[in-house]
């Protein structure tokens, strides 16, 4: 096949029946030195991230930052309202009756942290994503049912159609498919 055909290729995809096979495949490909690859499974498969050599994810960090932001913001709102912007004598309580401000501060913390976790996760996952090449593979529709896929992207420095195909086939997949971009 010609060079520009390769250009239109997103990558090569192999289909497996079990998560175990998928993990082994991932480990093998990693040993071969492939970097730009990804696994696909109907449910989170244990060991797969390690096998693919994924870096630590940042979701916890984002959540922590949002939590701190929420706590500070929550308390400051109450402090500013009661002490600076519009101080009122409420039942002889001091303007800054901080013990009474704790619950709202607490709730703000949790609210912001949750936003951090959820929206952080979606953004870092690049979701929502209306289009993605992997869906071009017919059988990929079965993934959510009970299929497991690995996909080596054409962008990988080591990617070379025939050699990569040979590698994937050597893993006794259910099948290997080209993923048009």
């Amino acid at each position: 096949m010609t060079h520009d055909e390769e250009e239109k290729l997103y990558g090569l995809m192999a289909e497996f029946d079990t998560p175990e096979a998928l993990v082994q495949a991932a480990e093998r490909c990693r040993k071969e030195g492939y970097k730009k690859m990804d696994g696909f499974s109907p449910f989170p498969v244990h060991g797969l991230p390690e096998a693919l050599g994924l870096p630590r994810n940042k979701v916890p960090l984002v959540t922590l930052c949002m939590a701190i932001l929420g706590a500070l913001g929550g308390f400051f709102l109450q402090y500013w309202v009661n002490v600076i912007d519009y101080p009122l004598n409420v039942g002889g309580r001091p303007y800054n009756s901080w013990p009474a401000f704790i619950p709202v501060t607490y709730e703000c913390t949790i609210l912001f942290a949750s936003f951090g976790a959820v929206f952080g996760m979606f953004t870092m996952n690049g979701l929502p994503k209306p289009y993605h090449p992997v869906f071009n593979v017919e059988r990929f529709a079965l993934m959510t049912n009970d299929r497991f896929f690995i996909c080596i992207e054409a962008g990988d420095s080591l990617f070379e159609l025939t050699r990569t195909r040979r590698l994937l086939e050597s893993l006794k997949p259910h099948g290997v498919y080209e993923v048009p971009s």
Binding site: V90, G91, G92, R93, P94, S97
Partner: protein, 999 residues
């Protein structure tokens, strides 16, 4: 002239269709008469021109439209054109937002109460007492307070009626003239005038003039709450009729023979003040009150010792007591029980030990003999001239009302009466049943009615003439001590009514004499022309005529009575019926006043209804409980009444109140409770034996505002005896649950520099007379909610008077406690409001921001005193135009869905602040007087700056009796109470079990 007639025809047609009286103000207006033209000129100088030409149908319709609109502008009525004189400042011009005060007088039960009436831009809005008037001394009673609402009553009669169809004054006068003309020849043999007690000098003069004109005519006086027995009694004792005037402030020992002198006598406001002045601050010289009662009253509640008795037996007690105090009396074959005798001995001993410094008072509803005995005792004890003096009767003719009415109805029955004129009385409703007045009334071929309302009598009359409210006309009247008091109008008649004097002058055949001139001419006769204007102005300015107090008469009661004079009643068998005027609608004349209808009647806290009041024992015996409907059969009549069980009621008697069961006279008046007049007989109008009571099985829920009568061992009202007090002055401060010593708060104190408003309520002074409640209502635009809502405990009063019973269930101690917002420094209501609608001012006021309130009701839930009130519906009437005129412009009218409560009359604080700022000084003690405080006859309520050690309130708060309500909650209330100290006779304490403090 012809045109007008044709127009009137049209008007009648139109008006037949028109429901809702507030849509048109008066026929004169529509009939395009002189008054309306001038009115228009004043209101619409330009538009007036069109109305000068005769009216055709089209214009008439325009006019209807206009009057619909104008009715809304009723508030813009101009100041009266007559010269009236402001009490404090000259009225060159009215400063908007600055109320003016005018002195006038309110006629209640035939006696004048001096008032200062607050007027906002020509709208009288609030009534205050006139400090210089002898029957007011600056205070008022609940009727005077509520009278301002009657002025704006939308149900007031608005047009002259002829056979129920709208007519005009001029037509009436013509008709009347004809009728009287026909009587001239017979010297008025067939003419009868029926009016209330003639205590107005001017009206009396007119009456005399009338009788001179028609010698054979009769002018009858009738007041359903009459003083016949009193008069018969004084005749029996003195041989002539005199009015007693008491000086309770001079009496160390007071004995009440079924007399409710603290509330229902003419002069009670002043009497209450005198009496309380001797016990408000306990100590030496504290007076002692023994009360003999046939039904619980405020006087009994204030007494140190109460003895219950059937009304008929009061005579026995009186005689026995008289015997022990040096009056010779016929012997009684049914002697008193040992307990009663023991009680009497103690009383007699006390009286004899305090000769010249004691007082025996007989009740209006007691028989002549009892009155005579009271007079005799006061003479024997040397009280005459010291604690009681006698004056010639305030009601000059001192007629016997019942007797007179009896004769009148007999004459009616026999058809002697050809023209009956009822002047401001309602006999068809309130005549004793056995006279069958209703039936005989119709026998008079010509019946004329004059009054504020189209009442039962008006409906049966040929002619009805709308009267004027006392705030709309000039008049005069005598106070209980004879003082001639002035009545001056604060507003032009709202509904083209005629003043009693104008009406009377019509009787005299004088055409269109102005009420003012009539009164002026009378006083001109008294004072003479010279320097009249000054005297007149001075009188109006002061509200009464200086030095018209009747001089004491030198009379002496006889010192003994023979069996003819004092006939002991046969030992009472069966139940006794007690008939009394209602504590809030009185004889029924206030039945259309929503403030009074919803005012919790003292002791029962009933609203919107009257009831058959029985004792717990009787209830048990008859198997009755509250709300059961029973059939009462007595004297001439039968009624169905709901039961109210009241501890302290004598076991063998049933008390009913007059004033209910109205069938006309306003939307609120109609069809409430039962008509007790149906049980009244002319022979025994006040009490009668042989009452039969039958269960009907029906029930009717009574709306009482307080359904729990015990204090549940809580330190709410703290009281003790003078003995305990002298032993341990701080007995009241002892807390049951001692709060954590030291500051129980984790927060720092909020500093209150400058003014710190606070209040002390002296429970020794409070007699529970309800004047403060109505005063607050009229000052603060507090709405009424109606029976249905009261049943669900949604009444809106900002100040309420809690009433608790303690001790013996059959004859309990009755204590009152006014409760209003405590303005707690650590208010529990404030921190729980999510929107900050209730907050504290830096002067310590607990303030509601109505327009911020969203109505969570959390504040009310968290208020331990439950003084917060919630607008569950749109309670404030925003549709009836006239009611809007009554509202105090300085106080917000609250909307639906918001919380409200006492503000310590913040509007008054602020107006005082403005005055102080203008004079560049601090607000002085006494500059701010809250509405409740100013209405209180006994000065139980004291308000002021507690940061100022010299203020009266600060001084009171230093007294050992001073205690706070629920202070263990650390709410730090700004309102505190002075514990109640009673002065029981040490020899009697055991049997009347005055409980020790707290419990």
């Amino acid at each position: 002239m012809k045109e007008e007639a044709s127009l009137l025809a049209q008007v009648r047609e139109k008006l037949q269709g028109l429901k809702g009286p507030q849509f048109w103000k008066s026929l004169d207006e529509l009939a395009d008469n002189e008054e309306f033209r001038t009115y228009l000129k004043e209101e619409y100088p330009y538009g007036a021109a069109e109305f000068d030409k005769p009216v055709d149908r089209r214009d008439f319709l325009k006019l209807m439209g206009a009057s619909l609109l104008l009715s809304g502008l009723a508030g813009c009525k101009p100041q009266p054109l007559e010269k009236i004189v402001p009490y404090v400042k000259a009225v060159e011009d009215i400063v908007p937002g600055k109320p003016l005060f005018y002195a006038t007088s309110y006629l209640f039960n035939g006696s004048a109460i001096g008032l200062l009436v607050e007027s906002h831009l020509g709208r009288p809005t609030k009534v205050e007492g006139n400090p210089e008037h002898p029957e007011s001394l600056g205070a008022t009673n609940l009727f005077a307070q509520a009278s301002v609402l009657s002025l704006y009553d939308p149900d007031r009669s608005k047009a002259v009626l002829n056979a129920g169809r709208v007519s005009t004054w001029s037509r009436f006068v013509t008709q009347l003239a004809e009728d009287l003309e026909s009587q001239k020849a017979a010297q008025g043999t067939g003419v009868r005038v029926l009016s209330g007690p003639l205590t107005s000098p001017t009206l009396l003069a007119q009456a005399k003039e009338f009788l001179a004109l028609y010698p054979k005519a009769k002018w009858v006086e009738y007041d359903p709450v009459f003083r016949d027995y009193e008069r018969a009694g004084s005749e029996l004792a003195f041989g002539e009729v005199v009015d007693p005037v008491y000086s309770f402030d001079k009496a160390d020992i007071v004995v009440s023979l079924d007399a409710d002198f603290l509330f229902s006598l003419p002069g009670s406001i002043c009497y209450a003040k005198q009496f309380i002045s001797r016990r408000s601050l306990p100590g030496d010289g504290m007076n002692r009150l023994y009360a003999l009662e046939s039904t619980p009253t405020l006087t009994g509640a204030a007494a140190d010792h109460v003895m219950r008795s059937s009304a008929s037996d009061v005579l026995r007690f009186a005689a026995a007591l008289a015997g022990k105090t040096g009056v010779t009396i016929p012997s009684d074959n049914t002697p008193l029980t040992p307990k009663e005798t023991e009680w009497l001995n103690a009383v007699a001993k006390d009286l004899n030990a305090n000769r010249g410094k004691c007082l025996v008072v007989a009740g209006r509803d007691q028989t002549p003999a009892v009155h005579a005995l009271a007079h005799a005792m006061n003479k024997a004890l040397g009280n005459a001239g010291t604690t009681v003096k006698y004056i010639s009767p305030v009601e000059e003719r001192a007629s016997r009302h019942i007797q007179a009415l009896k004769e009148l109805s007999a004459e009616l029955a026999s058809g002697k009466v050809e023209l009956l004129i009822t002047l401001d009385v309602n006999p068809v409703y309130n005549a004793p049943a056995d006279l069958e007045f209703e039936k005989h009334y119709l026998k008079a071929p010509r019946r004329v009615h004059y009054g504020l309302f189209v009442d039962e009598t008006a409906l049966m009359a040929h002619w009805h003439v709308p009267g004027t409210h006392y705030l709309e006309h000039f008049s005069d009247a005598r106070a209980f001590d004879g003082t001639a008091s002035m009545v001056q109008p604060l507003i032009k008649p709202l509904y083209a009514g005629k003043s009693p004097h104008e009406f009377a002058s019509a009787l005299l055949g004088k055409k269109d004499e102005s009420g003012e001139d009539i009164v002026i001419n009378y006083w001109k006769k008294i004072w003479g022309e010279s320097d009249f204007t000054t005297k007149w102005r001075r009188a109006l300015h002061a509200g009464f005529v200086q030095g018209t107090v009747s001089a004491p008469k030198n009379v002496s009661a006889k010192s003994g009575f023979n069996p003819q004079e004092i006939a002991y009643p046969a030992a009472a068998q069966g139940l006794e019926l007690i008939i009394r005027p209602d504590p809030s609608v009185w004889d029924g004349s206030f039945a259309n006043n929503s403030w009074l209808q919803e005012l919790p009647k003292f002791l029962t806290t009933l609203t919107w209804d009257n009831a058959a009041i029985i004792s717990p024992k009787l209830a048990e015996k008859e198997g009755l409980k509250q709300d059961d409907v029973v059939e009462l059969k007595a004297g001439a009549g039968v009624v169905e009444a709901s039961i109210y069980v009241l501890p302290g009621q004598p076991d063998e008697s049933v008390t009913v109140h007059l004033g209910y069961g109205r069938t006309a006279g306003g939307e609120l008046a109609k069809d409430r409770g039962f008509n007790a007049y149906r049980l009244r007989t002319s022979k025994e109008p006040s009490f009668l034996s042989g009452l039969r009571l039958r269960k009907t099985g029906k029930t009717n829920r009574l709306a009482s505002t307080q359904n729990h009568h015990s204090m549940e061992n809580r330190d709410l009202i703290r009281k003790g005896t003078l003995e305990e007090y002298s032993k341990d002055p701080e007995f009241a401060v002892v807390e049951h649950h001692t709060p954590y010593k030291g500051d129980p708060s984790m927060y720092p104190q909020y500093p209150y520099e400058g003014y710190a408003w606070g209040m002390v309520i002296n429970l020794n002074a409070c007699i529970g007379c309800n004047a403060c409640v109505v005063a607050c209502q009229s000052e603060n635009n507090v709405p009424t909610v109606g029976k249905k809502e009261v049943l669900n405990s949604r009444e809106m009063h900002w100040i309420r008077i809690d009433r608790y019973f303690s001790g013996d269930l059959d004859n309990p101690e009755k204590d009152h406690q006014p409760v209003l917002c405590m303005h707690c420094e650590k208010a529990p209501c404030e921190p729980v409001c999510p929107v900050g609608a209730t907050t504290h001012s830096d002067e310590g006021l607990n303030e509601m921001t109505y327009n911020r309130c969203v109505g969570t009701k959390y504040c009310s839930n968290n208020c331990p005193y439950k003084v917060r009130r919630f607008n569950f519906f749109e309670y404030a009437d925003k549709n009836v135009e006239t009611l809007k005129m009554q509202r105090n412009p300085d106080v917000t009218v609250r909307a639906r869905g918001v919380m409200e409560k006492c503000t310590f009359c913040v509007q008054r604080i602020n107006s005082a602040r403005i005055e102080a700022k203008k004079a560049d000084r601090r607000i002085k003690d006494g500059d701010v007087v809250t509405a409740c405080q100013s209405a209180c006859p006994t000065q139980a309520i004291v308000f002021g700056d507690i940061n100022d050690p010299e203020s009266a309130v600060a001084k009171l708060k230093k007294l050992p009796l001073n205690y706070g309500l629920l202070t263990e909650l650390n709410t730090v209330p700004r309102v505190s109470y002075l514990a109640k100290v009673k002065n029981p006779n040490p020899e009697l304490v055991p049997n009347t079990g005055v409980p020790s403090h707290g419990h």
